[in-house]
Symmetry: C2
Amino acid sequence: MRKIAVLGYGTVGSGVVAVLERSAEQIAKRLGEPVQAVKVLDIRDFPDDPIQKYIVHDFQEILNDPEIEVVAEVMGGLHPAYEYVSQALAAGKHVATSNKALVEAYGAELGEIAKAHQVSFLFEASVAGGIPILRTMNTAMIQEEIRQITGILNGTTNYILALMEDTGATFEEALKDAQARGYAERDPEADIEGYDAARKIAILASMIRGKHVRYQDVPTKGISGITKADIEGAAALGGRLKLLGSCSQEDGKLYVSVEPTFVPMNHLLAAVNSVFNAVMVKSSMLGDTMFYGKGAGKLATASAVVADILAALDGSGVYEMHTWSKETDEPSHPADRPCRYMVRAEGEKTEHPLIASLASTEGGFSILTEQCSKQELAELLEQIERRAKVRGVFRKVEE
Amino acid sequence: MRKIAVLGYGTVGSGVVAVLERSAEQIAKRLGEPVQAVKVLDIRDFPDDPIQKYIVHDFQEILNDPEIEVVAEVMGGLHPAYEYVSQALAAGKHVATSNKALVEAYGAELGEIAKAHQVSFLFEASVAGGIPILRTMNTAMIQEEIRQITGILNGTTNYILALMEDTGATFEEALKDAQARGYAERDPEADIEGYDAARKIAILASMIRGKHVRYQDVPTKGISGITKADIEGAAALGGRLKLLGSCSQEDGKLYVSVEPTFVPMNHLLAAVNSVFNAVMVKSSMLGDTMFYGKGAGKLATASAVVADILAALDGSGVYEMHTWSKETDEPSHPADRPCRYMVRAEGEKTEHPLIASLASTEGGFSILTEQCSKQELAELLEQIERRAKVRGVFRKVEE
């Protein structure tokens, strides 16, 4: 029997135990032996749950158990997760984590500790839960130069935007609906202000750069200011607004942002609805690829953690997830290069050579610009403002 | 330096050499050493190509070179590919192949030889070229029970159907356009009659069943009979026709087919256009996932072969692609279970409780049925035929 430990018996932790049980037969078949969570760390007791016999309250019991090969860290937060994970790696145990805050803040260091002790530090579940995007970048794309990643990385905001579009709900109404369904937390700030997506795009950007892209350095704008009129304006132009995290590399420079973005209807990301996530990658030889699935949810996230646990246990080699150095990489804003924009305004229309298309909306109009620099955009907005009020400016997704 | 050999210097073979060159720096960084194709087998000479110094005409030169660790088989066809690959594996060399005919026919046996000699037999490029679907099933989804796979597995037919829809071209006109662009071969039968997609879905079905699903046993219908009226009928019902390969498991039984299928516009597969491929997987815990990318093309296919070469060379363990036994599994047709159908007819409409929606088209109508058994469908068609001629019957994609 191969033995593992789970840190935290919350939603994801109980999911990990459930997935190991439900898939026991095929896991045993693949590894040649069953895998069992023999210690589960939690401050609570669960007297009515069969898990109780595995519950421990002291991390040392896990750290000092030489039979435990893998530690699944699914407790969240930076501390004591960081201390536990670094100690586990240093003790020669593999670690699988779903904790994006931990990976974003300490990924470089934890990757180094893992390498020094020849164990795996795996974190597939930390970005777009049920989508195996990190593993794909780490294996199928070794030979690719990744030029651009654009993703719907937060299911809560995608659900809210889709609901506003489908039902005409306001942002506040849609948020309440999402909270009632359990798709949004009672304190929804991390989701709706884009911080959750910023952590995920920071991890993806760090992976392709090999340097630490700090999430605090990602220009981030959430969806709390999105109005029904913005959504109608996008629809009038044949598209929809999506909260996209994007990063791209050009001439050695890195461009990263999280922001509500205009996506034309014929773009594959426009078809991603409800709480689903999707990550589109542009790379040197494969061209466009896209990976779609559940970004969150107990079983999907737990399944991704279990896949990492099995990767650590499978085969005789160490499965190494390539991380990044501690050196930081300062991203630029995508708008530092010429971009196309959707502009929504109330008032009278204007004419300008940078306007590629224009659609009338109630009390105003929306335009899609040609490619333009920041300076050109500013001049265009100034001209529009002579006869109207600019109410929204959104980048168009890069092709 | 790590040494490999390439069998066949055609489109994919020259692509493999090109990808190894273009990505030399990052490959060397990852593996710690450069990877070089030191022998390339072809019956031809290439006097004006720098490859000439590596060209050999006798497979024995590769087989007997102990420094060659991986053989990339990209020559296609069953023989001598089968003999070369089995000898290479038995000689302790890893094999990466893009040859779907070989994998479909001999995958079970070649997987056994690889296992016996502790080498990797990898064939990511054989199904949906640039999409890492096999690797995902083999790694990220070990713990999942895969219930259903539905895919656009042939770019040629997807291009033809999209062009018919976009431009109103007939099948013959769209085929000619595809041939002129190099998307279809001069003898297009394998693509347009669905045999190419049947081989790919047979490989996917074999992987999830652990038994050999022969492509000859896959009920297969191509697109050569699709008319403009069929496409208009699908559009009138809010969908489009796509050539889908599908397999699903229920109560231990396997259902497989390749056939033009009605896909509603809000289904993600409806958004897959041009020569792109996409594979949608339904599994026990992850739910729906989808993987999208180029299904063919020199660099995309070669990149997938190179990813397999690197997987074979990377790490100290053997990367084992789980194959299937020689025992065959007899698939049933998906219509052996209740399905929903699109029916197109010319003549007067009819009413029937199994009709879920009906749209008028020029000279006739199209309907979408409720879920119905073969028997119920036959009765419905009989009733329609009293006042009209049934011109097309297509399954609706399973949700």
